[in-house]
């Protein structure tokens, strides 16, 4: 991976940028699937601090544990060991009910697989989330952000893969979350729609002050982040803090 050193500051893991209070703090986070000989160590001790309100990009090869990490700090999964804090609450200590509360009140999620409800239209898929959010935007508006206002009444089976993905993004941003997790949000999109989507994420980040965490394979996306985490083999390889961020428009696709 080649980077333009002049715009980046390379720092060591345990010296976070004192920009604001952290949104997430993890300590010695591990996750092991299965046991014995068949055990898979998806996370092997992750220490991380994500400052609140930042746009963070997570890069890493397939199978390196990115989704696993996202799931754990998004309250969808539990770590095998270690601790996770969201602001000053310890997620790793929460009951299932508290985690539900956390997801409901704070988290927006775009899953790696689009995961729409097949029996609900695009509009209704968004509504499913806005109905239980405290301060949501109008589902129409959210769909408008991803350019799908006119497809609101279509069912997932009537949408292309990229369109489904955009509905999933609209659904995640519509609740105006405190933290937004996007697992490969642009994977199936062409450069133009991809940029639109990234613009939406940027707006959420800047206008709402939401902390945004994006997993991607498109290294160029990293240029619009405050902070880029390089992941490999279940651990953080390096963290890069961008001094200047590019606008999604200017990203090389």
């Amino acid at each position: 991976m080649k980077m333009d050193v002049s715009t980046k500051e390379i720092i060591v893991q345990d010296q976070p940028l004192k920009k604001s209070s952290p949104a997430f703090t993890t300590k010695a986070l591990t996750k092991t699937y299965g046991e014995g000989a068949a055990a898979v160590h998806a996370l092997r001790g992750v220490d991380l601090e994500i400052p609140s309100g930042e746009m963070v990009v997570l890069l890493g090869p397939s199978g390196s544990g990115k989704s696993t990490l996202l799931n754990i700090i998004g309250g969808l999964d539990r770590a095998s060991e270690g601790t996770v804090f969201f602001q000053d609450q310890e997620l790793s200590d929460m009951t299932d009910e508290q985690l539900t509360r956390y997801r409901r009140d704070h988290v927006g999620f775009v899953f790696q697989f689009y995961n729409l409800m097949p029996s609900l239209t695009a509009h209704e898929n968004v509504e499913l989330v806005t109905e239980i959010a405290s301060d949501p935007m109008d589902p129409e508006e959210a769909l408008g952000l991803v350019g799908l206002r006119d497809r609101a009444d279509h069912f997932p089976s009537q949408l292309s893969g990229g369109e489904q993905q955009r509905v999933a993004i609209a659904r995640a941003v519509a609740k105006q979350p405190t933290v937004l997790f996007c697992d490969e949000p642009t994977g199936a999109l062409d450069s133009i729609t991809g940029r639109t989507v990234l613009q939406v994420l940027k707006d959420i980040n800047e206008n709402l002050g939401a902390t945004v965490l994006i997993v991607t394979h498109a290294a160029a996306t990293a240029d619009m982040a405050d902070r880029v985490i390089h992941f490999a083999d279940g651990a953080i390889r390096e963290i890069v803090v961008n001094k200047t961020k590019l606008d999604p428009e200017d990203i090389k696709w």
Partner: protein, 787 residues
């Protein structure tokens, strides 16, 4: 409407075919419960009202001849609210064109006004006019069966004198709901009549002027029946009282009660079995339905919906199906009950109908359906809720096929790829497969049991009329006659064999149990009508012992070796104490057998007989009947083939009719189970199967992968279902048995074969239906959406 509810409606619509199939199974289970309990309550209520409106007596007191003024004494018994005397007598009706005389009972009606007790319900013509001694009313069903109408005249022999009487009207009465010739068990509308005549005219015919030979009493609610019976017996003792008895021992009421009780017994024992099978299916199907929603459950939870919210969403889906099915079952149950009750009314000859439902059956139906469905849903939801949303959303880990490794390799040589896929799925998801297998086995068991019951009914008829009773004709005498009559009968040309019998009415007592019935006095080595054991071998009567039908032994709670008290209600009315020598296998009625000698000795009436069984040459039938008709001592002649047909009819139209309805319902449930099994398997694998098609498998091969599984499950289910069915048939047979007839649980290869065929046919049809859908499925949309 919020989006979850919208999802609910769309999901329901998407799975409508299956939802209907599931709903239908639970619906027929509930239908049966509602229908049967409704029938029983309706019959009970109709009978009660009929009795009440037409003032059926509570107590009947037969007596030889008591002066009319003793009625006031009877009315004065504490607890008795009204009393009336009447004259009854047996009569013979001679119909032109009939070789045999028909037996009838003549009953008096007051000369003026309506009777205080035991009123009649006039259906045609008019009531009797006083002063006309030749007018009669005739029992409606007898008239209908013999083509008689008001205006016709009838040749009747009463007290040995033949006279011609004119029918002025037809009537029914609560005391003659069920009519049989004395000593017969089987109702035969055409064979036994009731004649109502004015009191004066009938008294003249039977030498009962100023007297009665039957008193009727009604009692208040607080009366103690045994005390009333005792008091009545004491008052009429010196006039030849034959023993007062309550309504529960009145012949017609007893038969009707036993029929209704039989229906009640089958309504409490059989529908629960059906409902349990349906509920079990519901449980399995709902749990698999919810299981298939696992990823969506994970997703909804990921959005921050609470377990409660997700749970209630699925609970609504479950309720929609289960409660929908139960509601449909209730509605159809009411409709079916209404339709059936009309058949029963005709059978019981109720003049009107009170249709009543048992609300408890609705409640039970709903609770069982919703309970089973919720249990199925809850089980899965709990499991899914225990997972983190992340793992619930992950497509369920592909089942671990690695363990079939070596086994599989060995099979590679033998089986092609599709067969291996079938085999692996069967072995890797044993829980599901066992669930589906037990479901189909339950269907098989129901079919086995119901087909077996059909055979059981046939066996009852067969055994009664070919094994136990091998005679062709039964002759009944007016009263006990000398056994010289046997020779008289033997002399009739065409009579091959004669076997005398002495039947006397008795009350059996053992401990606290008692039963009003009759004892059959048999010759020492009976050949034509025998007591047989469970192997159908003749039980030999031993001197000084009595043999009881199993049903009677059960009623009296008595076992061989114990002493039984037999109070004879005839002649000098001896009380005999006699050990039970054995228990006989009888399927009809609940007779008792004793050696004729013993009976006659106790009665001090040597060499008396009350009837005889005849084996005759069928070529000479007509001539024999005419000869019998002319014998003055002969009260009645019953022809076995008629009796057999009458029993068949009784079982096909009475409580036994239900077996056809139940068999149909068993069929629906069995089919529903199998169809559902096929549908669920398809729903769960639609995506996999579409992928197979995409990578180049043919429709046939893909169908094989899916249906092969169904076929294997069905094949395993057949023996398991047979085994369950074997035990189930005992429960169902017991439910159908009543005091009137017993239905044996039969192990016949034919019923197992027929049930297996039915299950296989259901499998083929279900497979075909699912394959039809599969062939039409849109590959692209099956692959595109992840469900």
């Amino acid at each position: 409407m919020n989006s979850l509810n919208r999802k609910l409606l769309r999901d329901l619509w998407r799975i409508k075919g299956q939802a209907v199939a599931i709903g239908a199974v639970i619906a027929v289970g509930v239908l049966m419960l509602v229908m049967m309990t409704g029938l029983v309550t309706s019959l009970d209520e109709t009978r009660r009202t009929y009795y009440e409106r037409y003032r059926l007596a509570d107590v009947f007191v037969p007596v030889n001849r008591a002066p009319e003024h003793r009625i006031t004494d009877l009315a004065a018994i504490p607890g008795v609210s009204s009393a009336e005397g009447r004259v009854v007598g047996s009569a013979l009706i001679d119909l032109p064109g009939r070789d045999l005389p028909l037996q009838a009972q003549a009953v008096s009606l007051p000369d003026f006004g309506t009777p205080r007790l035991n009123d009649i319900y006039l259906t045609d013509g008019r009531r009797l006019e006083s002063g006309n001694a030749n007018e009669i009313l005739l029992l409606k069903s007898f008239a209908a069966a013999n083509g008689l109408r008001p205006g016709d005249s009838l040749s009747v022999t009463m007290n040995g004198k033949r006279r011609s009487l004119r029918i002025v009207g037809l009537a029914q009465a609560p005391e003659f709901l069920y009519t049989t010739a004395p000593g017969e068990l089987i109702t035969d509308d055409a064979g036994f009549g009731v004649i109502w005549m004015s009191r004066t005219a009938l008294a003249a015919a039977y030498d009962m002027e100023g007297a009665f030979n039957e008193a009727l009493l009604s009692v208040g609610l607080d009366a103690r029946l045994p005390a009333v019976l005792d008091a009545a017996d004491r008052i009429l003792e010196s006039y030849g009282g034959l023993g007062a008895y309550g309504r529960e021992d009145q012949t017609s009421n007893r038969f009707v009660s036993e029929e209704i009780d039989g229906l009640r017994a089958s309504s409490t024992s059989v529908p629960p079995i059906f409902l349990a099978v349906a509920a079990f299916l519901l449980y399995i199907v709902i749990s698999r339905l919810v299981e298939s929603e696992r990823e969506q459950i994970g997703l909804i939870k990921a959005f921050g919906y609470t377990d409660f919210e997700v749970g209630s969403h699925y609970f609504k889906l479950i309720i929609a199906i289960a409660a929908g099915g139960a509601a449909a079952g209730c509605l159809f149950g009411i409709a079916a009950g209404r339709a059936m009750i009309h058949l029963y009314l005709e059978y019981y000859k109720f003049p009107f109908l009170i249709f009543q439902l048992d609300p408890a059956s609705f409640v039970t139906g709903f609770l069982v359906s919703v309970g089973a469905a919720s249990a199925g849903g809850l089980l899965v939801l709990r499991r899914v809720f225990a997972l983190t949303p992340a793992s619930a959303m992950r497509p369920p880990a592909p089942p671990d096929y690695s363990r079939t490794g070596r086994f599989g390799q060995a099979l590679n040589f033998v089986l092609d790829q599709p067969s291996r896929m079938v085999l692996r799925r069967l072995t890797r998801q044993p829980g599901r497969m066992i669930g589906a297998m037990i479901g189909i086995a339950a269907g098989m068991a129901l079919s086995v049991a119901m087909i077996g019951i059909m055979a059981g009914f046939d066996q009852t008829v067969e055994q009664t009329f070919t094994v136990i009773d091998r005679s062709d004709v039964t002759v009944t005498f007016n009263e006990a006659v000398s056994n010289k009559a046997v020779f008289e009968l033997q002399r009739i040309p065409g009579v091959i064999e004669v076997e005398p019998i002495r039947i006397v009415p008795v009350i059996f007592r053992h401990g606290l149990q008692s039963h009003r019935g009759a004892v059959n006095g048999l010759v020492p080595l009976p050949r034509l009508n025998r007591a047989v054991d469970s192997e159908l071998a003749t039980i030999h009567l031993r001197k000084g012992g009595i043999i009881l039908a199993q049903a009677l032994a059960d009623i009296l709670a008595i076992y061989p070796g114990e002493l039984l008290t037999v109070e004879v209600r005839e002649g000098r009315r001896p009380i005999i104490s006699i050990p039970v020598a054995g228990v006989a296998e009888t399927l009809l009625g609940s007779p008792a057998f004793i050696e004729m000698e013993v009976l006659n000795r106790a009665l001090h009436e040597p060499n008396r007989i009350s009837g005889a069984y005849l084996r005759i040459d069928s070529m000479m039938e007509g001539k024999i009947y005419r000869t019998l008709k002319d014998m003055p001592t002969v009260a009645g002649v019953s022809v076995k083939n008629n009796a057999r047909a009458a029993l068949q009819k009784q079982m096909d139209t009475g409580a036994g009719m239900m077996r056809f309805v139940m068999a149909a319902i068993a069929g629906v449930i069995t089919f529903g189970i199998i169809y559902n099994a096929a549908r669920i398997a398809y729903a769960e694998r639609a995506r996999d199967l579409a992928s197979l098609r995409v990578i180049g498998f043919t429709k046939g091969e893909v169908a094989f992968v899916l249906l092969g599984e169904l076929v294997v499950i069905t094949i395993v289910a057949l023996p398991v279902g047979s085994l369950i069915g074997y035990y189930l048939s005992f429960a169902i047979a017991a439910g159908f048995s009543s005091d009137l007839y017993q239905i044996p649980a039969i192990f016949s290869p034919e019923s197992y074969g027929a049930a297996a065929l039915a299950v296989i046919a259901a499998t083929i049809i279900s497979g075909w239906l699912v394959k039809h859908d599969m062939d039409r499925a849109d590959l692209v949309s099956a692959l595109k959406t992840r469900e």
